[in-house]
C-alpha cells in the first residue's frame, strides 16, 4: 500500500499533464469540430517559448511564471495564424483538416529542428520545484504538485471563462446552433478565431509544464498528440468534466502499468485500455443525448 500512494500521485501528475495537453483539444475539437494534429507542435512552441524567456530572464525562479502567459500568447498566435490562413477554408471537411494539420505539424517540427539545437534545449527548473512537501506522512514532490495545480487553475479558468463571460456565452451559443447564433448578431467567425486562439494557447501552457518534466526538443509534441486525442475522445466530445476524468484515469493507469511492467509497455496497455473503453462507450464517458443521426 505504501508503494501505491506515490504511484497514485505520480499518475495524477501525468494525468494533469495529459489534461493540459488535451484541454485545448477539447476546446478546438470538442467545441469547433476541428481536428488539429498540429496541436502537439503548439505544445512544443510553448516549451521553446519557455526556453526563450529564460534567455532573457536568467533567474529561473522568476522566468517560469513569466513564461506561462508568454507561451500562451505565442502558441495562441500560431494557432490564430493557422486558423486564418488554412483552417477556415476547411470547416466542412473535418477529415481533410486532420491531414492538412499533419502537414503543418511536420513543417513546424522541422523548423524547430533547424532553429534550435537538434538534441533539444535545456529549460532550467526553478528552485521552488525541487523540494518536497510532506502531507499526511507522505513526501509529495513539488514538481508533481505544480503540474496538478497548473492543470487545476487552467481548468477553472477555462470553465469560468466559458460560463461567465460574454465571450464564453457566445462560444456556447455558436456550438449549440451556429445559424441561430449568427442570426442573433454573434460574429461566428470572430468566435471561431478566438476559440482557436485560446485552444492553441492552452497547448502552449501545457508545453511549459512539459518542458519542466521531460526534454524540450522538436519531437516532444508528437508524443502527446495521440494520447491527448484519445483522452478527449474517451471523455466525450465537448465535455470538460469527461476530459478531466479521462485524463486522470489514463495518467493513473499509465503510472500503475509502468510500475508493474515497463514504461513502453505501459503506453501500449494504456492505448489498448482506451480503445477497449471506446468499444464499450463509443461516445465517451459523458454524452449529450441527441436525436440526430450519423
Amino acid at each position: 500500500m505504501d508503494a501505491l500512494i506515490p504511484q497514485l500521485l505520480n499518475g495524477s501528475a501525468q494525468g494533469a499533464l495529459l489534461l493540459l495537453a488535451a484541454l485545448g483539444l477539447s476546446l478546438t475539437f470538442g467545441q469547433m469540430g476541428v481536428i488539429n494534429m498540429a496541436h502537439g507542435e503548439f505544445l512544443m512552441i510553448g516549451a521553446f517559448s519557455a526556453y526563450l524567456v529564460q534567455q532573457v530572464i536568467a533567474a529561473s525562479d522568476l522566468s517560469i511564471p513569466v513564461a506561462l502567459p508568454v507561451a500562451f500568447v505565442v502558441a495562441g498566435l500560431f494557432g490564430l495564424l493557422l486558423e486564418v490562413t488554412i483552417i477556415r477554408w476547411m470547416y466542412r471537411r473535418p477529415l481533410d483538416t486532420l491531414l492538412v494539420t499533419v502537414g503543418v505539424g511536420l513543417i513546424l517540427q522541422q523548423a524547430a529542428l533547424q532553429i534550435f539545437p537538434s538534441q533539444g534545449v535545456p529549460v532550467e527548473k526553478p528552485s521552488w520545484l525541487d523540494g518536497q512537501l510532506t502531507i499526511l506522512g507522505y513526501a509529495w514532490p513539488m514538481r508533481q504538485l505544480f503540474t496538478i495545480l497548473l492543470a487545476a487553475v487552467c481548468v477553472a479558468a477555462l470553465s469560468a471563462w466559458l460560463k461567465y463571460t460574454s465571450f464564453g456565452r457566445r462560444i456556447r451559443a455558436t456550438v449549440h446552433n451556429r445559424d441561430l447564433a449568427e442570426t442573433t448578431g454573434i460574429s461566428t467567425r470572430t468566435i471561431d478565431r478566438l476559440t482557436f486562439f485560446v485552444g492553441s494557447g492552452l497547448a502552449g501552457v501545457a508545453g511549459v509544464a512539459a518542458s519542466l518534466i521531460g526534454g524540450t526538443n522538436s519531437q516532444m509534441g508528437a508524443q502527446y498528440i495521440i494520447p491527448a486525442f484519445l483522452v478527449v475522445a474517451a471523455g466525450g466530445i465537448g465535455q470538460l468534466k469527461g476530459t478531466i476524468l479521462a485524463a486522470w484515469a489514463v495518467g493513473v493507469a499509465l503510472a500503475f502499468f509502468a510500475y508493474w511492467t515497463t514504461g513502453s509497455l505501459a503506453q501500449v496497455l494504456a492505448f489498448i485500455l482506451v480503445i477497449v473503453f471506446l468499444q464499450l462507450r463509443p461516445q465517451g464517458l459523458f454524452t449529450v443525448r441527441t436525436r440526430s443521426l450519423a
Binding site: 475539437f29 471537411r93 477529415l95 491531414l99 499533419v102 513543417i107 513502453s264 509497455l265 443521426l293
Partner: protein, 364 residues
C-alpha cells in the same frame, strides 16, 4: 472511371508492361531495387485508396498491417538465415534463452505465407467488426487506427530480444531458398512485387466496377441512406478495410527481402502518414492515383530525402497542405479540371452545416 472500365484496364496493361518489361531492361540494379521498394508502398497505397478514397475511412494506421506482413516475412527470413541456431541478435542479448515460442512456426514457408495473408485479415476483421458495428467513424477511426500504429511501434521497440527492437531485423541471406545477394534473384523479387502491384490494381479495378464498389461509394457519401435502403454499411466498410489491410500486409512482406531491413520506424505513425501522402498526392479515389502517388513520394523520399533531408520534410508538409487544400482529389483530378468535366467527388458534395459533434460523432 466507372463509365469506361476498358480504358482503365488498358491503362493497367500499359503500366504492367512498363513495370515488368521495360523497367528491368532500362534501370540499373540499384534503381530497380528502389523501384521495388516503391512498389511495396504502392501496394499498400492501392489498399488505402480503396478504404479511404472510395470508402471514406481514413486509415492512418496501415503501418500495423504493413508490420504484420513485414515481420512475418522477416522472422521467416531470419530463421532461414540462422538455420538451426538461434538468430544472432537474440544471442547478443541473452545467449542461453530459447527461441521465443511465437517464432517457432515461422520456420515453415507455408505457415509464413499463410500468416502474411491471414494475420491482417483476422486482425483487421476483428478490429473493423468491433469499430464499424459500433459506428465508430470519421476522425475517431483515424485517430484510433493511428494510435494502434504508435502502440505497435512502441511495443516492437521495447521488445529487443523478441523482435530486434529499434534496430529491427536485418541481414537476411536467403529468400525461400534463393540467395538474396544474387542480382538475378533480386530481380526476381522485384518482379514479384511489381507483379503483385498489378494484381492489386486489377483487383481494385474489379471492385470499383462491381455492385460492391457502388455500394462502397454510396456508404462514403451517405451512410445513413445506405442503412435505410436495407444494407448494413458496417459490412461494406469491413470488406474494404480488410482488403486494404491485406494489401498493406503484402506490401510489407515484400518490403523485407527488397530493402533488407525492417524497423519500427518503417511502421510507426510517421511511416503510416507517408503512405497516406502518396495516396493524397496521386488522387485518393482514382484507380492509378494511389499507386503512382506512392511511387512518386517514395522516389522523392530516396532522392531528395537523402540529398536534402531537411528540405524533404518541408516538401512533404507543403504537399499535404497544398494538395488537400486545393486539390482534394489529387493530381489525377487535374485533367478533368482542365477539360471542365465535372466529377463526383467526396468533398464537393454538399454537407449540412451541423455541429461537428453530430457530424463526426459516434452513435451507439
Amino acid at each position: 472511371m466507372t463509365k469506361k472500365p476498358w480504358i482503365s484496364l488498358g491503362g493497367i496493361g500499359v503500366f504492367a508492361v512498363l513495370l515488368l518489361a521495360v523497367a528491368p531492361l532500362v534501370l540499373t540494379d540499384h534503381w530497380l531495387n528502389n523501384l521495388g521498394k516503391y512498389c511495396c508502398w504502392a501496394i499498400a497505397a492501392v489498399g488505402i485508396g480503396l478504404a479511404w478514397g472510395r470508402g471514406g475511412m481514413l486509415v492512418m494506421g496501415q503501418g500495423v498491417f504493413f508490420a504484420l506482413g513485414a515481420y512475418s516475412m522477416a522472422m521467416h527470413l531470419t530463421l532461414e538465415t540462422a538455420g538451426d541456431r538461434i538468430p544472432a541478435f537474440m544471442v547478443l542479448y541473452d545467449p542461453l534463452a530459447p527461441l521465443p515460442a511465437f517464432w517457432e512456426p515461422f520456420r515453415g514457408a507455408g505457415f509464413t505465407l499463410a500468416a502474411i495473408v491471414l494475420l491482417p485479415v483476422v486482425v483487421a476483421g476483428a478490429l473493423g467488426y468491433a469499430l464499424f458495428k459500433r459506428r465508430v467513424k470519421g476522425a475517431y477511426f483515424a485517430i484510433l487506427s493511428q494510435a494502434l500504429a504508435v502502440a505497435l511501434a512502441v511495443l516492437i521497440s521495447s521488445t529487443i530480444r523478441e523482435t530486434g527492437g529499434d534496430t529491427g531485423l536485418s541481414d537476411f541471406k536467403y529468400f525461400f531458398g534463393f540467395v538474396l545477394n544474387d542480382p538475378a534473384n533480386r530481380q526476381m523479387v522485384y518482379l514479384i512485387a511489381a507483379g503483385l502491384l498489378i494484381v492489386c490494381l486489377l483487383a481494385v479495378w474489379q471492385f470499383y466496377r462491381s455492385r460492391f464498389g457502388e455500394l462502397l461509394i454510396a456508404t462514403r457519401d451517405a451512410e445513413e441512406r445506405v442503412r435505410f435502403l436495407g444494407y448494413d454499411p458496417a459490412n461494406v466498410k469491413l470488406v474494404a478495410f480488410v482488403v486494404s489491410a491485406l494489401m498493406a500486409s503484402i506490401g510489407g512482406a515484400l518490403f523485407v527481402p527488397i530493402v533488407g531491413i525492417i524497423t519500427p520506424a518503417e511502421i510507426g505513425a510517421a511511416a503510416s502518414i507517408l503512405m497516406i501522402a502518396g495516396v493524397a498526392l496521386g488522387g485518393r479515389a482514382s484507380l492509378f492515383g494511389p499507386a503512382l502517388g506512392a511511387i512518386a513520394v517514395g522516389w522523392g523520399q530516396s532522392s531528395l530525402g537523402s540529398t536534402w533531408p531537411d528540405g524533404w520534410t518541408y516538401v512533404l508538409g507543403l504537399l499535404f497542405i497544398v494538395v488537400i487544400l486545393f486539390l482534394p482529389n489529387g493530381l489525377s483530378s487535374l485533367p478533368a479540371r482542365f477539360t471542365g468535366r465535372a466529377r463526383r467527388t467526396p468533398v464537393e458534395q454538399p454537407t449540412p452545416a451541423i455541429a461537428a459533434a453530430e457530424l463526426e460523432g459516434v452513435r451507439s
